[in-house]
């Protein structure tokens, strides 16, 4: 059974079709890339699978549950979305702790470990608003992986990251994949995606171009 199934998904916003008849089947333990230029529908597709937007027509099933019917959001998901930040007056660790407090499945140790994995110092006393863009991006990634979710979705994860951190991110993603997580990455950076993903779907004007499916296998 496929972990994620999208059947005939369309999304129309203000009379513009942002996703057009998308049909996808994704497996656990693999990294999928979504490649396309700005406005091609990559972020929309990620938001759709995350349950943040509802399809105009079609169906999204994640781990056997249809979104909008059986569940609002995938049960075990780590997500980064562009332009979503954290509480400006708290340190990075405090922000993660507040989020971890919702599910209460991890403690201080796991939070510290997630911060270290992305190259942030758990003892850093600086507030989120004092973070650089790169640090903010790292914190978002730490937030997505800290609870060891079954589904990890990263929207433009390499934005603002230096080369060293991008390499570190690749290692993290491979480790998560080996753990059995299903990973979806949306990016306009071709090289990064084709390096890391098992399969890359190319999006253009809301269409997923099946004949452009590429990747490492």
């Amino acid at each position: 059974m496929k972990s994620i199934v999208l059947k005939g998904v369309n999304k129309v916003i203000k009379k513009i079709c942002v996703l057009n008849n998308v049909n996808l089947e994704l497996d656990k333990g693999k990294i999928y890339g979504l490649y396309g230029k700005n406005g091609s529908g990559k972020t929309m597709l990620i938001r759709m699978i995350a349950g943040l937007i509802i399809p105009t027509t079609g169906e999204v099933t994640v781990f056997g549950k249809t979104l909008g019917k059986d569940a609002s959001f995938p049960e075990s998901m780590g997500l980064t979305i562009e332009n979503v930040g954290f509480w400006p007056n708290y340190t990075g660790k405090e922000c993660l702790r507040m989020l971890a407090d919702v599910k209460k499945i991890i403690g201080e140790e796991e939070i510290d470990a997630a911060l270290k994995r992305v190259g942030l110092d758990p003892d850093d006393k600086r507030k989120y608003k004092q973070y650089s863009l790169g640090m903010k991006q790292k914190l978002a990634i730490a937030q997505a992986i800290m609870e060891k979710p079954e589904l990890i979705m990263l929207d433009e994860p390499t934005n603002s990251l230096d080369e060293e951190t991008v390499e570190k991110l690749k290692d993290i993603l491979i480790e998560e994949k080996e753990r059995g997580a299903l990973i979806i990455i949306a990016s306009h950076e071709k090289e990064f995606l084709y390096n890391i993903a098992d399969k890359v779907y190319v999006l253009s004007d809301g269409y997923v171009k099946d004949n452009d499916v590429r990747g490492r296998n």
Binding site: L79, W87, V102
Partner: protein
Amino acid sequence: MKKIMNCILLVSITLIQTMYMDLRFSYDIGKEVHLLLVYVYGGLFSVKEATSFLVVLEYSASLFIQLIMLSDIMHRDFETACVYLFTRNESRTKWFAGKEILTFVFSLLILVSQMGVTVLVGSFKGYHLDFSKTVQVFLMLLLTLGLGSSIFNVLAAVFSIRNNGAVVISTILVVFIMSILLIPLMGGAKAFCEINPVCRTFLLHHSIINSIEEIDPFNRLDLITTAVYFIGLHVLILTGGCIWINRKDVMEVM
């Protein structure tokens, strides 16, 4: 650190306000602690004295500060980490209701600490403490603050999702404050206040100010009626908020 600063700020404002009210109204108050409390927190509507901007503002200052602080708790979550918070919760309604309850608990703690300061100042200045009346005043004020913070929270949540949060919250505050200042100035304002259960409580408080001897503000029936109205309105606002937050398309605009 921010929380400690907020506490210091609240206590300082209460201290200054209590001293000021004592200085201004000590003749009317007649050295009763619970009446001093009414002066410090009681009013948003002052029918007889409403023509003075300063008078209405000085009655309302503590309440405004508390409302701003409390709505800020909800607003911050919506403006910043709403996506990461919502997607970790099984139900948005549960999250929203939990947040409301938490806010109400904060209201309670803030009010207790502020009233503690007022009672201490009152005792220090030789005021007489009537425990049961003080508790009744406390309950009325708590209901007022709880209702106010609910309205603010729901508005903060609704508007900060759809618009620029800071601008919208400032607008809500300005409209709220202006309505407090303008409603009593309008013709028939007194009648409006008397039939409106929310305003009635404030009128009750201000009746003390205007004619202490004539009206018994601690009538048990009045307290129960007011409590029922307040709790009913609170539940209505909370239910409305929960229905709104549970709309399927609410996340699409985030």
